[in-house]
């Protein structure tokens, strides 16, 4: 066991202390920041200035801009790429996105249909068993 511990220790030392796997740059952060500001200002302007009259169109535009902004944050602030941590970062992210999409779209879809399939008589508390 002690041999194993020594080996583990030597292994950790061998990787070097400063190798945190992430090499941030000023340019990267500033690019991300400018893009994030633009992608934040546009939806606020759309809503607060009543630019788009139709609510559903405005909602789609807002969600699309939010999706783009999330990708920008992931790349420039969280330093995501397909190679970091040998690809395991990306794998965990893809798995999470799949679960998030299932959770969100599934819940909203199912509950919307439950709402619209309710019989009028079921809405009245007096008719409940």
């Amino acid at each position: 066991m002690s041999a194993h511990d020594e080996l583990q220790h030597a292994h950790d030392d061998g990787h070097g202390h400063d190798d945190l796997g992430i090499h941030a740059t000023f340019g990267g952060y500033m690019t991300g920041f400018v893009l994030a500001v633009v992608l934040t200002v546009i939806p606020f302007w759309l809503v607060m200035g009543h630019v788009i009259a139709k609510s559903s169109t405005a909602a789609v535009v807002i969600l699309a801009l939010a999706a783009v902004q999330i990708v920008v944050h992931m790349i420039y602030f969280l330093h995501m790429n397909a190679k970091s941590e040998g690809g395991w970062n990306m794998l965990a992210l893809v798995f999470t996105i799949v679960l998030v999409v299932i959770t969100l779209s599934g819940s909203i879809w199912i509950m919307y249909h439950l709402n619209s399939n309710m019989m009028p008589s079921m809405m009245d508390p007096a008719n409940l068993p």
Binding site: L7, V37, T40, I70, E85, S107
Partner: protein, 212 residues
């Protein structure tokens, strides 16, 4: 492990000694950051569930106030700017950390913490205002899901600020040792992740909530 490679079974002396080609533990370098990433992803699932709840209940007003009546976009715009600015100032702190410059790094971390505290203050004021006009979490399903989602995010930011203060104390005491750098990178991921969640909150809850 190295002992094992020379082990020979008794009574079988003529057999060639066992050889292991991979003597080291196989794990990716820097497992802490990967592990922390996995934590963030599971946290992401918590928020996904809360977003789903809000998506389902967000228009159930129960005769109470609607989003357009109670949500104040100018305050949210200020809040969003504060959080976005705190993200970039944490980025500057990381840049100083990479160059081993402790004093400027601490300065950027302090600014980050203050911006985070400003965010929390504004959010608490908004909550207090809503509760004072009778639009508390118990008023309608919309307000319950609103308070749960936004409150959980605010709780995360509060925890981030506490973590930041603890880390600044550690850096002040022990300097920029490798362990502290690793912790600072974890908090960096946490902080930027909260900004990502906030993008979802201001888009899905506030901006879409006030649409007619």
């Amino acid at each position: 492990m190295s002992d094992l490679s020379s082990t020979v079974l008794p009574g079988n002396a003529s057999a060639p000694p066992l050889t292991f080609y991979d003597t080291a533990e196989s794990h990716p370098p820097n497992g802490t950051l990967l592990g922390f990433w996995v934590y963030l992803m599971s946290d992401c699932l918590i928020f996904a569930c809360l977003f789903a709840v809000y998506g389902v209940l967000g228009r159930e007003y129960a005769g109470g106030p609607t989003g357009a009546q109670v949500l104040e976009l100018p305050a949210v715009a200020v809040n969003t700017s504060l959080l976005l600015l705190s993200s970039i100032t944490y980025g500057f702190a990381v840049l100083e950390m990479q160059r081993d410059r402790q004093r400027p790094m601490m300065l950027w971390l302090t600014i980050t913490g203050l911006l985070g505290a400003g965010f929390i203050t504004l959010e608490l004021r908004e909550f207090a205002h809503l509760i004072s006009i009778g639009a508390g979490p118990q008023r309608s399903a919309f307000l319950s899901s609103f308070f749960t989602l936004v409150g959980t995010h605010g709780l995360h930011v509060t925890c981030g600020i506490i973590w930041l203060i603890v880390l600044m104390t550690q850096v002040a005491k022990k300097g920029l040792i490798p362990a502290n750098k690793r912790r600072l990178m974890c908090l960096s991921m946490f902080w930027h992740f909260l900004d990502v969640v906030w993008v979802g909150v201001f888009s899905f809850v506030y901006l879409m909530g006030v649409l007619p």
